[in-house]
């Protein structure tokens, strides 16, 4: 990253309208050199439109994008020093692995010998056998195709690599492997990566910083830790995964009252100007049974059911205070001592509360 934190790629009020529909509204962002930056959002949040503008396949209807101070808006995709890995990968089916990787160099008029040397270099870097040079791309496996697409994008040494959800079509285990591999390649090449995905989990694994998008705008920008620990609103908190969300209002400087049944809970502090909002507690900080008895914030209920989630077990607890079930998670090797349909106490430390106003 640049020492002074100055912007490598800067977006200034970027807006995209399709007729009366605004897909992207007034986005300003500074992406640093060498950073792994991820735009996360549900479908329809405008992230795909955003990346298509960044690559040059759509033109913004307002605002400016600058790469190292140079305005990019009117530069067509084939003249930008950036490159994208497509969701479908868009490997050319009539060309071999090698021809795919070399494509941009052929276009630029590089001579065949140097092209081939570069392609073989990239095959090695991406841990693909050098014999793959002559293989057809349709004969390669999903993970291999992924690496070929990445090699093709790296071939002409672009200043920024964009990724349009390239892992979304893969099965879970391969996706997990490739997420880490991608992060390693980011480290090896030192290039700026801009990634979009609908999975915050995926973004967390790889990114230096994350921007969360919703309805064409940005909701929060920060490191994975910041987003995990201090979500700015209910949307971000829930986007992360299952959480307990309770509608509350301010009761005193250190307590909030649930709007549903009036029970009060202690919180470590109150955001400035907080009146009403939501109390958010992650399932993994919730305690159940004996461990909950001595806590300041607790609720009585009945165990509705239990669910094995791999390394953890989730318990859902029904109480009169809420319509929804409470979610409590414990490690698989440390299960709750009671049974389904038992009466039980659940609770949490005030310090584990997250309070958001919207």
């Amino acid at each position: 990253m640049s020492e002074d934190g100055s912007a490598f790629l800067e977006l200034d009020g970027i807006t995209k309208k399709f007729g009366s529909f605004t897909a992207v509204r007034d986005i300003s962002l500074k992406i640093r050199e060498g950073e792994f930056f991820t735009l996360v959002g549900p479908s329809g949040s405008g992230k795909t439109t955003m990346i298509r503008m960044l690559v040059g396949m759509e033109r913004p209807t307002g605002g400016e994008m600058r790469l190292q101070g140079k305005v990019l808006n009117d530069v067509p995709a084939n003249k930008r020093p950036t490159c994208m890995v497509f969701q479908s990968l868009a490997l050319f089916p009539h060309k071999s692995v090698g021809e795919n990787i070399e494509f941009s160099l052929k276009i630029a008029g590089v001579d065949p010998i140097r092209r081939r040397r570069r392609a073989e270099e990239l095959l090695a870097q991406l841990r693909l056998p050098v014999e793959y040079y002559d293989k057809g791309v349709n004969q390669c496996s999903g993970g291999e195709r992924q690496r070929i697409a990445l090699a093709r994008a790296l071939a002409f040494d672009p200043q920024i690599l964009f990724f349009d959800e390239p892992l979304s079509a893969l099965d879970f285990r391969l996706r997990k492997t490739l997420e880490k591999e991608l992060k390693d390649i980011h480290k090896e090449t030192g290039k700026t990566f801009v990634y979009i995905t609908h999975s915050l989990e995926e973004a967390m694994v790889m990114s230096d910083r994350i921007a969360i998008m919703r309805d064409g705008g940005i909701v929060q920008v920060g490191s994975p830790q910041e987003i995990y620990n201090r979500p700015v609103n209910k949307f971000v908190a829930q986007f992360m995964g299952e959480v307990n969300t309770i509608a509350v209002e301010k009761a005193s400087a250190r307590t909030v009252r649930a709007t549903a049944d009036g029970s009060t809970f202690q919180v470590p502090g109150m955001p400035a100007g907080f009146e009403t909002g939501f109390l958010i507690i992650r399932p993994e900080v919730m305690k159940i049974g004996k461990a909950a008895e001595k806590l300041k914030n607790k609720v009585k209920g009945v165990v509705f059911n239990d669910y094995a989630l791999g390394s953890r077990i989730q318990y859902q607890v029904r109480s009169d205070a809420r319509d929804e079930h409470w979610l409590v998670e414990r490690l698989q090797d440390d299960p709750y001592e009671g049974h389904v349909d038992d009466k039980v106490t659940i609770g949490w430390q005030p310090a584990d509360s997250i309070l958001v106003s919207e």
């Binding site: 084939n78 009539h94 276009i107």
Partner: protein, 290 residues
């Protein structure tokens, strides 16, 4: 019952085989049968009307030694010329239909398909009315400029016009399918990797739409090769194409073996080209895509 007989019975019971049978039997009777018979006649002595005589190659020898190569040459060159003219004429239209016209593409398709459903005779006769002396072209030129354009009818260019006109849709529609088989993302990817419009065309669109181009080109070539009406109606006596020769051998000359030899040669030439095409192409992929 032996194992292979069992296999055959179970093969026959597949729904696919059962569904294929009616059309297959029909075409065996109405298409394969006559062709085999024509093939048989080509080895019968000249002017015989029976298939039961000693086979001979004399018809092949006489066809090769006579001047039939001229009509073959005319047919092949006019068919090739038709393909060469039709490709540049159709490509922009096909590109528009596959990429640009959106919901208008359906209307364009209908407008281009409708003439196919009107007798070729009537349409070619329309061209006669346009090209004939004192016809629409000549008459308009006389009225507007006092110049005369008599004479375009009954000439080789008039035949070429007729071939281009009649077979245009057969080139166009396969091209549309071929072009729409190229995914947009591949072109975007190429552009992203630095390719210019021309480079995208040459490196991506052209090779990937090749199945459509090949089908269109070969379909047009073969149809034009065996065409009869264009040269008869628009060409007058200007030249003789091979289908003309075949017809006169069968009808006026009443020489079935000679007509059969000419047919076998024409069929052989066309069949060779079609099989070469089909070997390279997966029909499921082309027709199945929408």
């Amino acid at each position: 019952m032996s194992a292979s007989a069992n296999d055959q019975v179970s093969w026959l019971r597949q729904p696919g085989v059962l569904a294929a049978l009616p059309a297959a039997i029909f075409l065996l009777l109405g298409f394969a049968g006559p062709l085999v018979m024509v093939f048989g006649y080509s080895f019968m002595p000249a002017r015989s009307f029976s298939l039961l005589q000693a086979p001979t190659l004399e018809n092949y020898v006489s066809v090769v030694s006579e001047s039939y190569y001229i009509s073959f040459a005319w047919s092949v060159s006019l068919a090739a010329l038709t393909v060469l003219l039709l490709f540049p004429i159709c490509y922009p239209v096909a590109y528009g239909m596959a990429r640009l016209f959106g919901k208008w593409a359906n209307l364009v398709t209908v407008l281009i398909a409708v003439p196919l459903l009107i007798s070729e005779n009537i349409r070619l006769f329309g061209w006669v009315l346009v090209l004939v002396k004192n016809g629409i072209l000549d008459g308009s030129l006389q009225t507007l400029f006092g110049a005369s354009a008599s004479g375009p009818l009954y000439s080789v260019p008039a035949i070429v016009l007729g071939l281009v006109y009649v077979y245009l849709p057969f080139m166009l529609f396969p091209l549309v399918i071929g072009i729409s088989m190229v995914p947009d993302t591949l072109k975007e990817a190429a552009s992203d990797l630095g390719a210019s419009r021309w480079q995208i065309f040459r490196e991506i669109e052209l090779p990937l739409s090749m199945p459509g181009i090949l089908i269109g080109g070969i379909l047009t070539f073969i149809l034009a090769l065996g065409s009869l009406a264009e040269s008869k109606i628009l060409g007058g006596q200007a030249i003789v194409m091979i289908a003309d020769d075949i017809e006169s051998a069968f009808t006026f000359a009443q020489n079935w073996p000679k007509g059969s030899v000419l047919s076998v040669l024409l069929i052989g030439l066309s069949g060779l080209i079609v099989f070469a095409l089909f070997r390279r192409i997966d029909l499921d992929q082309i027709i199945g895509r929408r």
